[in-house]
Symmetry: D2
Subunit: 302 residues, 4 copies
């Protein structure tokens, strides 16, 4: 596996330069685009990695899975009163559907849906950001994982589009806490810094019927695990979810920091990272690496 | 398995009466809503069935898979010049997205996408309806399968919405043949009459890396098979694809005749049929039966 | 007045070359773009003209006023069961609003609305095209006015977008006659050939409380006349109606043949023609000429 | 005139009870729905009134005209860099068009457009609310006119939908000042309390080529006056502007407090007030009164 990972990184490395590092905030735009790392973690606890797998990056939207899992943990099926689990067919930050569907986001992986999840968590936790950080530290087995406050501040200053979504949902009665507070927490989740190894380990429970091997915790039931994977499979990669299913065939979640996690149910969790994004906002080289990996090992669930 | 199928049918039978038989044309509206059948076909060629598995019904949108497979067969990746493989996030017959995206349908399982696929097949086959019928007969191993011309005529008289979609695509240059001819052929595919056993057998190649056991044909390559399954998983159940993934966890395709097919990769193909539909246009009892079946046997790919 | 018209034509003539002649069909694209004419007709029957006022051109969407007036004539307020009289806020050929509003066009001057009006007229007249032609001949006092069948055939071949609109309305039950027949008649109205003088005379009744001076006919009641002018003022220039009100301040109607008619209630009817169009599909030089004219004489109704 | 106004109020009074007082905030919902007043002010300075013309009410969106006039006063044509003057074809608070058109509102009379105008005024005035209040006092010739702070507070608490619009525009770079500050000022303008007489007098300059008789000020140039009236005519009554032109035929502006002002260019300014609204958010009885008045005196500009 180790050899295969190295081989694949070399194969996709020539694609570096074809994408574009997210630059809507300086803290992201500063990241050198040529970095490339991968980590694979097996249900037996074996770890394989290659390239810049030890370099931490901003997880961004990958954190939407963590907050969803937390919300399912304390509220279960009740959360679907507030949002759906259907693909949106719209860009991740669109308000159009939100207005037509009266403030109910399509799924937890578009921004509006993740904001509702944060609003749900806000009502449950006294200190939502600390709860989240500690949860992720346990999942990854790494007590050093931290929030990058420089990124939080920068995101908050550029909060306009997300603020619009939150206020629009509030106008329909689907937002219960103070908008500015929830936005700040939402940006804190996005600003978690983790590396490929952290993320592969943190997602291992989704490949293992909800059980996290190194922490020894049952994070979700087996059925809930399948459900989270199903939502990742249909809505995890913005408006490229169909293409990811077509090319890679695995549940996955991407972030504009350039990370993509994928789950091979019953076998592996994977994280690939390369900061340059394609037009849909997903790591261009990361997609290519996962496609090759999935084909070589026959990982597609389909 | 046989016993399990019977048991499941009995469990879901009380739901009959909660849905509504499609009645936009009399030929469909006449079908008694209380019918319920299921068939499971294994990669080893074993057949299990229960209920009204021998009663033929109108396959309707399930035929969209057959026409897609034919188009991939002769044109391969080229077809994606003309349409996408992303979930649409819109009702199956919406023209809104089609206008915004300049006549390019999101995927082959919404009506507009299936019409483009029919247009592609029209350019390839001298007798597209006969080709399709014969292809389906071979897949199902049943030379009796036929098109119900009463349904075709009735659909054609109610063609307005589909005609609008086809002409809109033509206005963007994404429709090459005579609209009325292609519409008539499209309705002929939808009007194929098959029973649960026929459909379970006809879909077996999608569970078997593209190989159809009883005909001995390699219908698609292994990779193409995964791709078709991926599209079914993200777009196969109208605007309820996310919910089907969440509840059932399998690639599937439904039709307003009340049939739903599902694929358990590497193991089984399934068809359940019950004519009453839910609000999203999918068989209400069929969904429930597949959910139970998937849970009991642990079939979810996620 | 005659001198003023000449002066204004010279002032705007330098703008020729900045617009673009409609070229979606060859019969329109062939027209030399440098032509420019104007005619003003007073309620006292005086005619003033300048430039190419005697050259006939394709009236195109200006005919939508004639068919609306015919429909009001025989059906009165009943027509508003089938369409509205609100500005659409969308391009003239958009289907988006038509789908959201279940097949009811916003007003009679977008294509969908004009098609519904033609459908209404089709149900009333044995020979709708002849009725229309004779009506326009009487209004203009010119028995030579004719339909250009070369344009009709060409438009019919490029009917896809309008066919899509008509079928979409049919799918909602808001289209009663054969789509292809009504489309053909609709294109015949658009293909009327008239010159600036014909059009200024044909619109004189709208400046004169519904009374056509030269034919001696009361075409509409005084109240209906104000209503037609109101619809022209809010919806007469595609998605530039607000700008026309802002710059010119008169009820008006444009066509992609480059003609614009305007009504000075109680005083004059005007037609200006110059084939080059701006981005909104209105005559670029014609708009400028009407703006100058309106300012110089203080014609704005506001 | 006095007699006619009384007569018309009696004719429309039976319609009271068919509309619904705005109740999205208590301060508006408390207003008794049966009130009805009207005032007409001539360019010669004569005042005619009937019914509850002396009772003050919340002007709400009628204030959008005052802020537009202020903005034109200091910035002239430059404001059209930031918004349009086309009818929107959408409800007054829709974000859909705002997203599609990248944060540029269609016109100054939908909420988003009025917010941009407030943002422009915010950049110009040290104390925008005081400037506005004093401007309106001068226009109406009434130094008692004041802002109802109970309404301001209540609107601010229900600001979610307007906040969403402002943040969405900010995300596109079309909002320059602090959102919360501008929102508060916007609500202060809306919360001006004036009666029919105040409003008829305050709008007299729009009937009089920009000259305010009692203050002796030239508020706008003659040309700017026509332009403001044109925008009122095409966009002044939410998504019922076309209907208002059709039925009344005058430039007008309505507010959810139940007031409607109308301008008879060269002759009169009018204000009618009745708190019950129709489905489009305009005073139901007020519309009927203006329609009768316009027909009886032949006021339609068309």
């Amino acid at each position: 596996m180790q050899a295969l990972l190295k081989e694949i990184l070399e194969e996709v490395r020539p694609l570096i330069g074809r994408g574009k590092v997210a630059d809507y905030i300086p803290a992201l735009g500063d990241v050198p685009g040529s970095q490339l790392g991968i980590a694979v973690y097996s249900n037996e606890g074996e770890l394989f990695c290659a390239g810049d797998a030890h370099t931490a990056f901003s997880v961004q939207s990958i954190s939407k899975v963590f907050s969803l899992v937390q919300a399912i943990g304390h509220s279960g099926e009740d959360i679907w009163q507030r949002l759906g689990h259907e693909p949106s067919g719209q860009p991740f930050n669109s308000l159009v559907q939100l207005e037509f569907e009266r403030g109910r986001p399509r799924n937890p992986f578009i921004n509006a849906g993740a904001l509702v999840i944060c609003d749900i968590n806000q009502s449950r936790f006294a200190a939502p950001v600390l709860s989240m950080r500690d949860f992720v530290r346990r999942l990854a087995g790494n007590p050093e994982i931290a929030v990058d406050n420089r990124v939080v501040d920068s995101e908050y200053q550029h909060r306009a589009r997300n603020a619009a979504a939150a206020y629009l949902m509030q106008s329909f009665g689907n937002f219960h806490n103070d908008v500015e507070t929830v936005l700040r927490n939402y940006f804190s989740y996005c600003a978690l810094r983790m590396n490929c190894i952290d993320l592969a380990r943190a997602f291992c429970f989704l490949a293992n019927d909800g059980f996290c091997l190194h922490s020894g915790e049952q994070i979700l039931s087996s059925r809930q695990t399948k459900q989270v994977n199903a939502i990742m499979a249909t809505s995890g990669l913005y408006d490229e979810a169909g293409n990811f299913a077509y090319r890679v065939g695995l549940p996955g979640k991407s972030g504009v920091g350039g990370g993509i996690v994928a789950v091979v149910p019953g076998r592996f969790s994977v994280c690939v990272w390369s900061p340059e994004l394609n037009a849909a906002g997903n790591s261009l080289v990361g997609m290519a690496a996962l496609e090759l990996l999935s084909q070589r090992i026959g990982w597609s669930v389909f």
